[in-house]
Amino acid sequence: MIGIRVGASWSAGPVGGQWLHGLRNYGELEVTTSLERCTDSSGGGGLLSMSWTMDTPAGVSLPPALRLDSLVEMRAGSVLLGVGYIAETPRGNSVTVNGLRRLGENFLAVDSTGVPTTNIRTAVTEAIVNGLRWRNPGDLPNSALSALSEEMVRYNTLSALLNKYCAITGQLWWIDRRGYLRIGSYPTTPKWMLAPSLPSMESADEDFASAVFVRRVDGLNADGEPNAWGGASATDPTAPFIRQTSMDLEQLGYLDAPTATAHAQAILDANRARSGFTEGVSVIRGQLQTLGGVAPEWWQVFAVDPTMVRTPNWVNSSGSVQIGRRKDWVLGGTRWKQGELLQLTPLGMVPRKVASITQAATGKPELVFQ
């Protein structure tokens, strides 16, 4: 059902192009997608990469449609599943494609006069004018991110701006199957369910905490500068073993004790939610289903749009299988290669509302990146 088209031109979506199987026989198709939690240095989602091998005899050149930067679409029938561009000039018979999301690293966040901006709508609109092959959904946030005047902000890449925006708002950004830039929340209801017979994903204690201690500002002087500090903590009495961690919340300014305790509890909740997955799962058809009990085709299970997966049983931080306890996790990555199992990897942490609060709390409102 899957076909690949190459060499289309882009005007609000792919136009034209040629089907790969009409040019050369090809195989060993591999597709990876990912969805990343946004931090200062990473983020973004969508098609990550694609590669295939072509039947090309020695001395025969590759079809001209396969040149550096050529657009590549993956389709089922005529339904778009992902868009990318050729990242490596094919050498030998193997072609590597990057997802369109990577193009965000190639464009700066500037307005129509070339001045740096932290307004996502302005920056994306201008980048598209400058040749960025994304599509504008028309509903992007329209306010400056920085509290400082824009002239003081250094040139940032579009990806960095999006990462920062989403880190502060506790959201995700991704390039959807049709090439639109999307900004949205973490999913809250699972779309897929793993078969109960699957081995559970292993987890590690690295991110586990049984107690969180936070340092807070307890008083301000007349100029608003901190002059007194205190502490607050939250403990999970049911934790299987003890691991205490601390965080400094000074950057949040003055925090009274109950608020600081609530923050600590939020961080602890987020950590408890975190199973610290050290690996993903590999499934064959039938081991992954909708909650309605129907197995999807492999190309329907891409970590492009944020989706959740339900595991009917899982290994908890202390290593025991939690029979009868299900767990929902956000799909953070998929890898499919012809003839191999479909691999699913979770996003490191199941976000909850409190996690977003923590994320927002620790993200600095001023932009200082690069």
Binding site: W19, G22, S78, I284, G292, V294
Partner: protein, 618 residues
């Protein structure tokens, strides 16, 4: 005495072959095996692992061949010919069995490797006996092929519809059954339904039932109306869970007719269409089977069940999903013992095709077809129109609350992924709209497993005559699964992002293993084909030795003399795999052409030895 045949490209190694100065001698043959490629997933709670084979890898064949010549120059010439044959990018190795009964099997050689046979370590045979011995290794595709194709010609349509009604279900006169008397009531024919067999499983019992009846005909000429269809409806069993009608069959003058189409008309009724060219038929027999599940031990009483027949009609119009002839259905039998591929042609002699969607999938024992309009239960006002594919159009509303609603029997949907398309247009002028579709399984009246997809915003022009086939997206159906025999419906809702969006047809293509979809904008012109913009012929070719890639062509002439590669006109291009057994085809076309002909050719694939095809012996 017959002898075997072995041919490699242009070299004939058969013992009876005549070659000038050189004699080829075959000393050994290894035929190899297809290598299964298995995927393994460990299971935590069961012994063993879950494994599945999803394809086969290439096989290796070997021949030990001796070149015997009068002098070393002759041997060198033969070796040169052999080496050149080995270096061809693609070649063929054809094996014919020795007794003249079996058919020739052809293997596609991907590469061949030549090696001088020095197994005796030190070899002076060439000097002593004037014979050079080589080992040739062939890397071939996993399965062998028949030499020739099986071609299922397009079904022709009469210029104006003609029908001959064998029975409209109103009278049982002339009908008889070996199981008892046939009656007519409620507008259907009711032969006795007899119990056939009971099969048990851990949960319960599955009882199979059959109904059969015959009638004499007064020398009917079916050749003018060769498409004979019947509607079979199952009853409500006295207990247990019924399944849909499982199968139907029809015999004319004692000859079983070949099935060309099957279609679910409702959860309980299926229409089967057969091909009959008998010019003077004197008898007809129809039969059908169904099943009922009962929960319990094998001793529980057998439920009673009934099957009734209606609308036994011969027509000169091939079977289609709609009255307009723009949604063609076809069922074909695929020969062989391995998966092959179809070479397809869609054409109309005089009228242009417009947008064409060619869809194929394995039979799967399910009668569901991609057209959804016939499951529509509510929506706007339907206006009949001959430019539509479904026969009528309506205006979509904005928002799900007042959407056009379809109730599809969950039983008719194979489980898996689906691609959804809507044929829409503008009431007047150019508008930009997206179309949304939601799907949920109705359990009682509660929707379960709801999924919603929305198309891209598309520019739509005035629908009559320029409808647009818009891809909406992908779904997993049924949204919530139900067991076989369930009477649950899947509720589909279709709506638009703005007013004045006219809707003709909703297509849901099952996209599971073995299915393929090709969508080509062949162009439409109501006054006839225009090369370059409006075409009436479409060809999908499988790889050949000369052109090892797939190809797709459009044109206006049958001999392809004006055809050109249609890559730019192709929105979706599937490679149409054909599993041995039953294959279903559905052709949607949006242009002026009605009942376009679908010709399907396939080269049967075999594990090792090809069977004789009917076409060979004819």
């Amino acid at each position: 005495m017959a002898s075997y045949g072995l041919r490699f490209g242009d070299l004939d190694w058969s013992p009876q072959a005549i070659n000038d100065d050189v004699e080829w001698r075959v000393y050994g043959l290894k035929r190899g095996k297809p290598v299964p490629v298995a995927r393994v997933a460990e299971s935590m709670f069961r012994d063993g692992a879950d494994e599945s084979v999803d394809r086969y890898d290439n096989r290796d064949q070997q021949v030990i061949v001796g070149i015997r010549g009068s002098d070393s120059q002759v041997r060198a010439e033969a070796e040169t010919a052999l080496a050149l044959e080995c270096q061809k990018r693609r070649n063929e190795l054809a094996w014919t069995p020795e007794d003249g009964y079996g058919a020739t099997t052809v293997f596609e050689v991907l590469w061949a490797d030549l090696e001088f046979d020095e197994s005796g370590d030190w070899d002076l045979a060439e000097l002593r006996q004037c014979e050079a011995v080589y080992i040739v290794t062939f890397r071939v595709r996993p399965f062998g092929m028949s030499e020739s194709e099986v071609v299922d010609e397009a079904l022709t349509a009469g210029a104006s519809p003609v029908t001959y009604t064998v029975s409209d279900g109103s009278s049982a006169t002339g009908w008889s059954s070996p199981d008892g008397s046939v009656s007519a009531s409620g507008g259907v024919l009711r032969p006795p339904t007899v119990w056939l067999s009971r099969v048990g499983d851990p949960i319960g019992q599955r009882d199979t039932y059959r109904a059969l009846m015959s009638s004499a005909l007064s020398s009917v000429d079916f050749s003018a109306t060769p498409y004979v269809s019947m509607d079979v409806t199952r009853g409500t069993p006295s207990s247990g869970t019924p399944t849909a009608v499982l199968s139907g069959s029809m015999l004319v003058d004692g000859v079983q007719l070949s099935l060309i189409s099957s279609q679910s008309l409702s959860a309980i009724t299926s229409r089967y269409t057969y091909r009959c060219d008998d010019p003077s038929a004197t008898s007809i027999t129809v039969a059908a089977t169904t099943a009922v599940y009962s929960v319990g031990k094998s001793s529980i009483p057998k439920p009673s069940q009934s099957l009734v027949f209606d609308n036994i009609v011969a027509s000169n119009q091939p079977p289609g999903a709609s009255s307009t002839g723009r949604e063609t259905l076809r069922v074909l039998t695929i020969r062989g013992s391995a998966r092959t591929e179809g070479r397809l042609q869609v054409m109309h002699e005089t009228d242009t095709l417009g947008d064409v969607a060619i869809y194929s999938r394995p039979g799967l024992g399910v009668g569901g077809t991609p057209d959804m309009k016939r499951w529509r239960v509510s929506g706007g006002t339907m206006t009949p129109n001959t430019s539509t594919a479904s026969g009528s159009f309506e205006t979509l509303t904005v928002g799900e609350g007042t959407a056009t609603v379809f109730h599809v029997p969950a039983d008719s949907l194979p489980r898996g992924g689906y691609l959804a398309y809507a044929r829409v247009g503008s009431a007047s002028g150019t508008i930009s709209r997206s179309v949304s579709l939601s799907a949920a399984t109705l359990v009682g009246s509660t929707p379960y497993g709801k999924q919603t997809i929305t198309s891209d915003v598309r520019s739509l022009v005035t629908s009559i005559p320029s409808w647009t086939l818009v891809p909406i997206g992908e779904l997993v159906l049924p949204p919530t699964d139900v067991p076989d025999g369930s009477t649950a419906n899947v509720e589909l809702k279709l709506w638009a992002s703005g007013s004045d969006t006219q809707f003709d047809e909703l297509l849901l293509f099952y996209a599971g293993e073995g299915s393929a979809l090709t969508i080509v904008r062949a162009g439409n012109n109501n006054s006839g084909p225009v090369l370059g913009s409006a075409h009436n012929r479409l060809f999908l070719d499988t790889p050949t030795l000369d052109r090892p890639e797939h190809a797709i062509w459009v044109g206006t002439t049958a001999d392809r003399s004006d055809a050109f590669f249609a890559g730019e006109l192709t929105d979706g291009w599937g490679v149409h795999p054909l599993e041995a057994g039953e294959a279903m085809f559905f052709v949607f076309n949006g242009g002026k052409a009605t009942n376009p002909g679908l010709t399907v050719a396939h080269r049967p694939h075999w594990w090792l030895n090809a069977q004789v095809l009917d076409e060979d012996s004819a």
